[in-house]
Symmetry: C2
């Protein structure tokens, strides 16, 4: 396959074909609902692209790829309960549309479904992929716990933040690429290089998300700008500003974080003014560049190319240059 | 091994040996807490006993056995959130001792840990055991959803109730036995017979639990009698009584269920009086006997006995005759 749209369609077709039981309806309907909300299907697309970079046996990658997408959607479902999020992809979240118990149990069921697809991997690759998937899933849970802990911690360091997003976001991207590579019979070294490539593009993507939430174009970004500022979310921007601001600027920032009566748009404006003064935007852009450059080093080390290396690179670059 | 205590100790030793990460503390401490609360470890004991019934390779059964115990404890953790239970094994539940978010995420992590142990099964048995474990886990979630749905449904039939407890309780007991048998190289027929044996003893055990909650000896049972009556839980006793009661008895029972002002002990006494009049106790005892008899038929069909068949039978009989 030579176009990303073909990979994307293949994944959506496979997801549509999943034959979930009908009963009990309030267990399986939320799962159908979540899986039908769409999304970019980045993780399974990466798994298939990585597979095709090394071999021509995409059928070996499709089941674990679907498992990765279901797992990712399970994490969103449970995270939304924990974050009390009411909307996801412009639709009501499951715990709002149904209730919290239904959301907990449907999420549990989705995790088992993810394992069911992972388990359908050819026995030749099964043990290695299971081990990687188990390790990665644990790390994603650790990342979510750190993220929640940061909410009530004013002293989060840059290193702690990077480690949190590595766990919460990067490892699943990296594992998707490596799982694709394993099913494509990549050698150990290439599989390790594509994993490290994934870690670093994952970090870059997340920092970009942080940047877009404050500096994105609302019309292109598709959601309101400044939500992270309103909720005092410990993003790379805020952590950098807290570190860089001195004297009056620091006191002003703390006041902005602690004052609960100021209107949202006024708070957003004032925080952005301070970010501008401290040149936070450039600082984050440099950091993103830094991780994308490391990623490139790992990518260039990969020896085998069955013909799809450029397609994967273009796909990643497209995601990296998005301003949505 | 010739004594149940040896199996029990082996399992607790293995559980103690699990080397969980330290960080983040509020992710892993609740897991250590839950696993240290004890319990009868019925599922892993059954897996080891079944293994030893067919072969002498207990080391092949120990990892999936531990996986089964961790999975069971994960279901208790998440069920306790959904049921708003404040105590488990005489200790605070995780969502009370920490909070609900911690309980959701620690539970998710426990499910992954369960899969990690299942994944350590010898490749010879891995695919078969994974398939059975995935199917069983889904069924347990379905059972929990039916159980919750029954809370707000007055018209639960006996058949629906039995199907619910088959899913919520029996399939994991049956899978534990079958997983032990698979690792013990049992043939397909014997593995199927021990599975069906497990289904029927599971049903018997659950009906016995229902009976003990109303008719047990508080000193031996270890908890207060009548909790199911107070909470209008749709047990086999209540479902049978609703079916059997006519005229004034039926109206009286409905009034007992709907009246929210009557003191608990008065409600318990009145419901038990009605159960006695309707001879519900005997009816449940007959049903328990019925399932234990079917179980026996399947057990007797099992051809291979490596010497441990009697030990397993005695263990089950002990559990069946308990009045705690």
């Amino acid at each position: 396959m030579k176009k990303i749209e073909e990979y994307y369609s293949l994944i959506n077709n496979q997801l549509d074909k999943i034959n979930l039981p009908v009963n009990p309806p309030n267990l399986y309907e939320p799962i159908r609902y979540v899986l039908s909300l769409g999304g970019k299907r980045i993780r399974p697309v990466l798994a298939l692209l990585a597979n095709q970079m090394f071999d021509n046996n995409i059928d070996q990658a499709i089941n674990p790829a679907i498992g990765l997408e279901i797992f990712h959607n399970f994490t969103l479902l449970h995270d939304d309960i924990m974050d009390k999020a009411v909307m996801r992809r412009n639709k009501e979240t499951v715990h709002v549309k149904w209730n919290e118990n239904v959301a907990i149990l449907s999420g549990d069921t989705m995790m088992i479904l993810a394992y069911q697809f992972i388990s359908r991997t050819n026995e030749k690759y099964l043990k290695e992929i299971l081990n990687l998937f188990n390790k990665t899933s644990l790390e994603v849970c650790e990342g979510q716990q750190y993220d929640m802990n940061f909410e009530t911690n004013v002293n989060v360091s840059e290193a702690e933040y990077i480690e949190m997003i590595r766990l919460k976001t990067s490892v699943l991207i990296a594992a998707s690429l490596k799982i694709g590579a394993i099913t494509g019979n990549a050698n150990t070294e290439d599989a390790e290089n594509i994993y490290n490539y994934g870690i670093n593009i994952g970090l870059g993507f997340q920092l970009q998300d942080d940047l877009l939430d404050t500096y994105g174009d609302e019309n292109v970004f598709g959601k309101k700008i400044g939500n992270d500022i309103v909720t005092n979310k410990k993003t790379f921007l805020l952590i950098s500003a807290l570190k860089k601001a001195k004297g009056k600027d620091y006191d002003g920032l703390i006041e902005l974080l602690e004052n609960k009566t100021r209107p949202d748009n006024e708070k957003i404006e004032k925080v952005i003014n301070l970010y501008n003064k401290l040149e936070i935007k450039n600082l984050v852009k440099e950091k993103i560049e830094y991780y994308f450059n490391i990623a490139k080093l790992f990518f260039n080390k990969i020896k085998k190319d069955n013909g799809n290396k450029l397609l994967l690179e273009n796909y990643i670059n497209n995601l990296a240059n998005r301003n949505f």
